[in-house]
């Protein structure tokens, strides 16, 4: 018997109920498919990878179109992107059953496998993110003035940023495709929504993180912060729409883990505290000034980031739950 789910006799059974009764609605309630083994490290990877990619995009756009006010945004975005991408491969390797064979991920390139694409995409993006961060560091004089620093300063950072934005978007969104292309009912049922959802959440997380960083370090002016907040609002609204769409699209059986138990609470928490509440708090903050507004924005930012992490937890673990539910599997694969 595979690991990870309880035997029925450890749970309550009814007196007089027979083995036949237990196999009436499903095969003793046993899962019809195997869920993945993914735990916190993968959830964290999804979260950090999302921020990394999205902050790179934001940095690039800020650099390209933001004018001088947004210079700090571009700078912070490049650093944030690089810092959050560093743990990504480590988290992935840690999750492997045979970590010493991590390099087998780059043995092939398989276009039908989101994970294979993801491995290459992560590699490519890391190069861009690293290059951009180093370039930024060179500009900022953090790595001296000569030798490589000079070379770096000479790189066309806007072009690099433009080219790197492809992989950056990819890294923020492919994880949704990775989940979608499985037999896990909750994920595959929402195959068109997961990528956009992860992308919009990544964007709001990245923007929020940048906002908090810049606000805390007083690096950016109020215009810059306003623009960031505008973007955050749009991303959050997109996320809200996608979350509601996801719940509706899942239906009563496949979507059950989004309603029931702790995961249900968490899902409602993501919606309420992670998306709706920040929107409201931001709106409130816009009508206030000074410390109150700052506190409201800080709270909103923290809620967004927490919600972003929680969202990935909910999607991953509710997926596990739906994989353990044979009714969800059968609902997905029922005769048409």
């Amino acid at each position: 018997m595979s690991m990870g789910y309880q035997r029925r006799w450890e749970t309550r059974r009814q007196a007089g109920g027979s083995a036949a009764d237990e196999a009436r609605d499903s095969y003793y309630g046993l899962p019809a498919i195997h869920k993945p083994h993914w735990k916190w490290s993968i959830v964290l990877y999804f979260f950090l990878g999302g921020i990394s990619g999205a902050s790179y995009v934001v940095a690039t756009l800020a650099r390209l179109f933001g004018g001088p006010e947004l210079r700090p945004v571009a700078r912070a975005g490049r650093y944030l992107s690089f810092l959050t991408v560093i743990p990504a491969p480590l988290l992935l390797i840690y999750d492997l059953g045979r970590p010493e064979r991590f390099h087998h991920m780059l043995r092939i390139l398989k276009l039908r496998s989101p994970m294979s694409l993801g491995a290459w995409g992560l590699l490519a993006f890391s190069l861009f993110s690293g290059l951009s961060a180093l370039t930024q560091a060179a500009h900022d004089g953090l790595i001296g003035r000569r030798g490589p620093a000079r070379l770096l300063r000479a790189t066309p950072d806007r072009l690099v940023g433009l080219l790197g934005s492809g992989p950056a978007f990819f890294l923020s969104g492919y994880t949704g495709v990775l989940l979608a292309a499985t037999a896990v009912p909750l994920w595959t049922k929402n195959f068109l929504l997961l990528g956009p959802l992860f992308l919009s959440s990544a964007l709001s997380n990245a923007v929020t993180a940048l906002y908090l960083l810049l606000a805390a370090t007083r690096q950016a002016g109020s215009h810059a912060l306003e623009r960031l907040e505008r973007l955050d609002r749009l991303a959050l609204l997109a996320e809200l729409a996608l979350l509601l769409g996801l719940r509706a699209n899942s239906g009563p059986v496949i979507g059950r883990p989004l309603d029931a138990g702790r995961l249900g609470q968490a899902f409602r928490g993501v919606l309420g505290a992670g998306v709706v509440a920040p929107l409201l708090l931001q709106a409130l903050a816009r009508r206030r000034h000074g410390a109150i507004a700052q506190a409201l924005r800080l709270l909103a930012g923290l809620l967004v980031l927490t919600g972003g992490f929680l969202l990935r937890c909910v999607i991953v673990f509710a997926g596990h739950r739906s994989a353990d539910d044979p009714h969800a599997t059968f609902e997905l694969a029922r005769k048409r």
């Binding site: 043995r107 092939i108 390139l109 398989k110 276009l111 039908r112 496998s113």
Partner: protein, 178 residues
């Protein structure tokens, strides 16, 4: 492998990169010695093939030639390899002295001699030459024997011969009774 071939097998929509180990894969019974045996479990009488390499059993399977099992086996028959190699298999003589609470390891020779002595002792004490009417019975009821239905015919023959004809042990019984 050329670079072109390598690209073809390693990059693409669904490439199919076969490893060296896969190319080399083969059945472990290739080139093994084969011995014909009979399943030791029930009485259906399935013929088995025991594959050995370097004096070790590496596999036991059904024998296609048999008109009874035609290569097939039941779960017990299919587990015969496990019967011979289970981690619980005992390969040492164990001895428990009277009133002792533990096993002791003893040599096979010691055990054989001790058993022979005990048989003689018990037999000498309990031997009946005649019954109460003076009819020769030449037997002992002091020793009994159980087992035989999982042993070979030749073994049963030797048991019956030694115990009953040689030592007068009459309470010789096997699982046919149960």
């Amino acid at each position: 492998m050329g670079i072109k071939e390598r690209l073809r097998t390693h990059v693409g929509r669904v490439p199919n990169p076969v490893s060296e180990a896969t190319r080399q894969a083969h059945a472990r019974i290739r080139g093994a010695e084969v011995t014909v045996s009979v399943c030791p479990y029930c009485a259906v009488g399935c013929s088995q093939l025991i594959y050995t390499k370097d004096g070790r059993i590496i596999d036991i399977e059904g024998n296609y030639e048999s008109p009874i099992n035609g290569g097939t086996l039941c779960p017990k028959g299919a587990a015969t390899y496990g019967l011979l190699t289970s981690p619980l298999r005992e390969t040492k003589v164990k001895y428990r002295a009277p009133y002792s609470d533990h096993w002791e390891e003893r040599s096979l020779d010691w055990a054989m001699e001790r058993i022979a002595q005990l048989v003689k002792q018990t037999r000498d004490v309990t031997y009946e030459e005649t019954d109460e009417h003076g009819v020769p019975v030449n037997r002992t009821l002091g020793i009994g024997h159980l087992g035989g239905a999982t042993l070979d015919n030749e073994e049963n023959y030797l048991i019956k011969k030694l115990w009953t004809a040689g030592l007068g042990i009459v309470a010789v019984e096997n699982q046919a009774r149960i």
